[in-house]
């Protein structure tokens, strides 16, 4: 699949240049590929850092069964020089636990049961580790119900016979994340189910111990276009002179 994204202002607009599989190039002649292969069919202008990518006259032609020749794309330099900045930062350290729920009584009241479990869990974390909900984050993905689409799942009430559970916690350091996960381990495993009278085991953990340390987790924190006063302003330049008899010291210059 050939896909590309381009910057338009400070956000991205997607476009595609060929169908989902290269074999479509010739095997499905009426496919979008051919319609894009005509010039000026799709007027797309993409504002990039320092200029605009102009695909209005771009041609997309089948070179072979599995490759595409793209020609006619142009780049119009902008009057100002600008620089795109993207950045990420450390969000914390995560620990996960994977398990499954098969008991129809639990599945039948899953929201209620997980709500009780979360209540118990948050209380334990506060009582034992002295941490408030603001000090960490946790998520419960319930595969088989809405694990993939979350709040957007239109069929979350469909009948299912098994739920895959991924519990994840994010904290400031790995040890804390794991300590917090350990406090979710027990209520997920044994929180009572009203339909059963007596102690029950409520989740099938995949691993022993169930918690897996995921390590550092990052998040996007910057996505900007900057127009500096000069092209060099934002970059530190170091020049080193090589070849003189006496080694010259490295010269650092900040524009």
């Amino acid at each position: 699949m050939y896909e590309a994204t381009a910057v338009a202002g400070t956000f991205r607009i997607p476009f595609w240049v060929v169908p989902s599989a290269p074999t479509c190039v010739t095997s499905q002649s009426p496919n979008v590929f051919w319609y894009l292969s005509k010039p000026a069919v799709t007027a797309y202008l993409f504002r990039e850092a320092s200029g605009t990518l102009d695909l209005q006259q771009a041609m997309f032609e089948a070179a072979t069964d599995s490759s595409v020749r793209v020609s006619g794309a142009r780049f119009h330099p902008a009057s100002a020089y600008d620089v795109k900045l993207e950045g990420a930062e450390l969000a914390g350290y995560a620990t996960v636990m994977i398990g499954g729920i098969r008991d129809p009584f639990i599945i039948g009241r899953l929201d209620w049961w997980l709500g009780k479990m979360e209540e118990y869990f948050e209380h334990s974390v506060r009582a034992i580790l002295g941490l408030n909900p603001a000090d960490y984050q946790f998520s419960l993905h319930t595969y088989g119900r809405d694990g993939v689409m979350g709040e957007l799942e239109p069929e979350r009430n469909s009948a299912v016979h098994e739920i895959g559970v991924v519990f994840e916690v994010l904290a400031a350091d790995q040890r804390t994340a794991t300590e917090i996960a350990k406090l979710a381990r027990q209520p997920l495993l044994h929180l009572p189910v009203p339909e059963w009278k007596g102690a029950v085991t409520t989740i099938a953990y995949l691993h022993n111990p169930p918690q897996i340390e995921r390590g550092p987790v990052y998040r996007f924190n910057m996505h900007h276009v900057v127009t500096p006063r000069t092209e060099e302003e934002m970059f530190r330049i170091e020049s080193v002179e090589i070849g003189s008899r006496v080694a010259a010291p490295a010269v650092a210059r900040t524009a």
Binding site: E3, T5, F11, R12, I13, P14, W16, P19, S20, Q28, P30, N31, V32, Y35, L36, K38, V41, T42, A91, G92, A94, Q137, S139, H141, G147, V148, M149, G150, E151, L152, P154, E168, L170, V217, Y218, R219, F220, H223
Partner: protein
Amino acid sequence: MRLDRLASLVRSKNAGPFQLTFDIMFIEADVYERVKSSKVLNASLIARLYDCALDSVQFFECDNALAFKATIPRRRVQGEFGDPDLHGGQQHVPLMAVEIPD
């Protein structure tokens, strides 16, 4: 008829870390035209299916590509804690069931 019976491809994908995009593609021009003239596919439909503000939806009818394209903001930035779909590739399913009148 359901959209997934008419389209050659319905898919979702990240468009950068902050946006999610949908492609609905056709092979036959008459089928594309039929779907287009039904006016069922539009920005409001996307806003409703994906619970986002109408003015946050970008919607394109690409006649020469026999395709519709829509782009919405991601609910969570790609890879952010709790994001359930790193590549955004499994978010197209509600579109599959969209009914296009005969």
